[in-house]
Symmetry: C2
Subunit: 556 residues, 2 copies
């Protein structure tokens, strides 16, 4: 048995959904699986993007061999520019995944220096002590891989995101054989996607959507506005195929949709029937029953094409009574309200709306349900199991699901969250040391614009009750107040109410100053604090609010 130490260090995405990133370390070599991002909760005011804190990797920069991307979703590749700007390491992924990552790198002007290395399912790559085998899996986007990573201590399998689609649209099947073979030979550690552990049975195939699409295209009498996730190439393929069958032209509308379909098409992974496409500018001139607009923006993002169509603010598409709007996507938690608003706008314009449940389904999930997770557990029969890709709730349920394998080779299951680590060595597996991880909040999507927690705390304070800033000019020589104090306030009380209130506040500031003794007056810091405390008490009593109070003393 080798004497080395294997460490599994989640940097993000375990105990939360989004920004998946995982470091795998064997002695002095590290590889990184995925570098995702997530969109912030609403309480992260003014923050546009959240990525994992890659500090651990920077700290050990000379050990980091490579970044491996499993598939093209933002929660797996979106943090790549942020990681590469700190640590320019080789990036491995399938052609489509790299194509999607390239787009992000280009936006941050990092593409030229990036070292992107294309792999195909079935390939093996040697990275120091790690031999990484890329295994094809099915999911809601294309060219997805799981990883079987052979280390001196044994094989680590990482499913990445998957469902087991028995009838994938591109006929490229989940490589169950590879899983079976590793399982037979013995797997040290399995990490598996926990997203849908709460859903019983098996997920429906992507092809389950097809009959619903046929119904919709067959019965729509006017324009069709169809929206799905831009990276859902299999769904888009089905829409294109059905549109061709029912003799409708398709207009692709939205920046992300155009980019994604172009990448897939250039790689031969999206078939666009001849003469199918319609230029967006020709939509309104074409007979409505011959048009399908494929539009990005399923989540009601205010600047997306679909949101703009909903409020009749899109240059090429306008919804008329009798048009049909289809939302072929899930609602990402937190987006219920913007999506609802968007749908109401469509309803006001007289559109027929198709979304949500129904049979056949208008959307299927890309993550396997409970019995698919069981199938993977049974095929792989690992010695150690670590559920990933879920909140604690899903990790816990997935851990329980594995219980029946105890006695069939499974020795232990570990729920490891961000900031914790799993250690495996000759003595077995155990929870390891705590690792410094966390999140980095980024403003405006630019690399350098990190928003510190303190700033977000200040913004939250300002968002709650605004600010009150008393400004005083003091004669440097005499220590006397010059002129009268000013008080500036925003976001606190209405202008109507504020006149009298701020008048009293002004008097209070002068009183505080008057009542200060010579010693206090010699230290403006003390005076500022006294003013702040007095004002805080007064304003809180008068208004029950707690604005940010920042006294300014100007020496003149």
């Amino acid at each position: 048995m080798p004497t080395g130490k294997l460490q599994v260090i989640p940097l993000g995405g375990v105990g939360e959904f989004g920004m998946n990133s995982m470091a795998l370390r064997y002695n002095d070599d590290i590889i990184v699986i995925d570098a995702g991002m997530m969109f912030p909760d609403t309480e992260l005011l003014g923050v546009d993007v959240v990525t994992p804190d890659f500090g651990y990797l920077k700290e050990h920069r000379e050990k980091v061999r490579a970044l491996i991307l499993t598939h093209a979703h933002e929660d797996h590749i979106g943090g790549t520019p942020y990681l590469l700007s700190q640590l320019n390491i080789p990036v491995y992924g399938t052609a489509f995944t790299l194509g999607m990552a390239e787009r992000r790198l280009e936006e941050h002007r990092l593409l030229d220096q990036a070292d992107l290395r294309e792999v195909a399912p079935g390939d093996k790559v040697e990275l120091g002590p790690f031999s990484v085998h890329f295994i094809h899996v099915t999911h809601s986007t294309i060219s997805c891989v799981a990883l079987a990573i052979t280390t001196p201590l044994g094989v680590v399998m990482h499913t990445a995101d998957f469902k087991i689609d028995q009838t994938p649209v591109d006929d490229l099947h989940f490589d169950l054989h590879a899983f079976a073979e590793y399982g037979k030979r013995g797997v040290l550690l399995l990490m598996s996607d926990s997203t849908n552990v709460e859903r019983p049975g098996y997920s429906e195939s992507e092809r389950a959507v097809r009959p619903r699409l046929e119904q919709i295209f067959a019965s729509a009498t006017r324009k069709l506005i169809f929206s799905t996730f831009s990276s859902s190439i299999p769904r888009i393929q089905q829409v294109l195929d059905v549109a061709a069958k029912y003799d409708r032209k398709v207009a692709l509308i939205g920046r992300s949709l155009l980019a994604t379909t172009e990448i897939a098409h250039d790689l031969g992974l999206l078939r666009i029937p001849d003469n199918l496409l319609l230029r967006p500018q020709d939509v309104m001139e074409t007979a409505p029953h011959r048009v399908c607009c494929l539009v990005s923006g399923t989540q009601g993002e205010p600047m997306s094409s679909l949101s703009r169509v909903a409020v009749d603010n899109h240059k090429n598409v306008s919804v008329k009574p009798g048009d049909t709007v289809v939302l072929s996507a899930r609602v990402i938690p937190g987006n219920e309200k913007p999506i609802g608003r968007m749908l109401n706008h469509f309803a006001r314009r007289g559109a027929d709306l198709i979304y949500g449940g129904g049979t056949p389904p208008i959307h299927v999930s890309g993550h396997g349900h409970r019995d698919e997770l069981n199938l993977i557990l049974n095929l792989v029969r690992p010695k150690y199991f670590m559920p990933v890709h879920g909140e604690y709730l899903q990790l816990m349920r997935h851990a329980r699901l594995a219980k029946h394998l105890e006695g069939q080779g499974l020795e232990s299951t570990f729920i490891i969250e961000n900031g914790e680590s799993l250690v495996i060595d000759a003595h077995g597996a155990r929870k390891g040391e705590k690792i410094n991880t966390g999140r980095v909040c980024i403003d405006s999507g630019s690399l350098g614009d990190v928003v510190e927690d303190l700033i977000i705390r200040d913004r939250r304070h300002l968002a709650q009750d605004g600010f009150v800033i008393p400004v005083l000019a003091i004669d440097r020589a005499t220590g006397q107040l010059q002129g009268s104090p000013e008080i500036i306030s925003r976001g606190f009380v209405s202008l109507g109410d504020s006149g009298q209130l701020l008048g009293f506040a002004k008097q209070l500031v002068m009183k505080t100053l008057d009542e200060s003794n010579a010693e206090e007056r010699s230290d403006w810091g003390v005076i500022q604090e006294k003013i702040r405390v007095d004002l805080k008490r007064f304003l809180n009593k008068e208004t029950q609010r707690r604005p940010m109070i920042l006294p300014v003393i100007l020496e003149v």
Copy 2:
């Protein structure tokens, strides 16, 4: 045919969910149906409560005869204190509804002067030209009424919130006979609840939850933590009954739960089996398999008892591994994240969790599904129909549902949103004039603390990028700058970055001042604006952010 004019004026709750309030006017008499509130969207920063703008009622105060409350939910009674503080009119409602409203009035010290008039289902009350008949309906809370309002022009029926529960827990049935009788005699206008128009078939009875409760109580081996809406008396009744059957004591935990159960119990509307209750302080001393804690806070509200139990910060209840936590409630859209966080905390403590779907259900809706809406439409067969209680989407679907009644007496359906009105007179029904309505945003729940739109706009600006305030002292006599400018900033850039940036900004302010001519210097308003514009351009270029910039000039 009388020559009068009937107006239906929604003040809130039509075209949105929440804060239901509806004015019914006949010539110079007005009655108000419900005065609800809603909880604000997250973008309404620092706002705690939203109520309809009751300006229309204030404007016509001498005409307003009464407020009629249909049932005890906050979106129907929560605005009562805000309305009564502006207009002290008689309030009609059932004993339980008034009891719940009293609690709110007491909090605002309005109870003493309030004129509350209790009615029972079956009662009729004459209010000027209106004769109001209270009709019992079933819903998720108790003592709910629909209204049949006889006017000189005909009968107006308002269903209020309802489901048609064929087996209500309290055996008090939906008064279908009253609906049938009015339908037979002829109804001028029907207003009906549209909430669940998108759900097919019939809703399940409240009793459908009972088998699931039995399962849970029969199989839980340790403490049960059970949470439902505090106003859901039938659900609470079932929990108490099942707890007694399975020999568990029940501790009632949470302010709103205690208040609500006390009101219902005092009125004889909640039966509490003898010796069932356990004092909260005795929970931890009792054998876990003999305890059920009924705890309020299903929506993950941060200060609720359930949230505090989840983070082990409640003085009487602590969750241990093997305890069972049951969420017997729906997720109100917008609350997905806080509820998810709470459930994850429970999972981390090793609790078994029961929530969401499943068969038998752990929660059923209080609003009727599509076929119940159809049943009401068919029983009432109104001349005019106006769907209420829904977003535009639901109103539209409900309007379509009524289409099959055209030719069976239904002349027209009207989708009237807040701010619009429906007019009926001898010439028939039509959309009437626009009415000034809107919402009032209230801070801290106190009556006077209205938050104006401008303040919320300012807070949103501050929340996004913080503020930058350059402060200058200028000699009143000479117009010369005294001392050097100060720049205060919060929520904008981190302290580390800000030093240099704000140093440059200071220089820019001085440069702007230097380059201003004598004419500009004579008008501080002009100087302030020049500084603001220059600074805005500079900061936006350097940081891509747009903080609020407020130059202050102090004359000394």
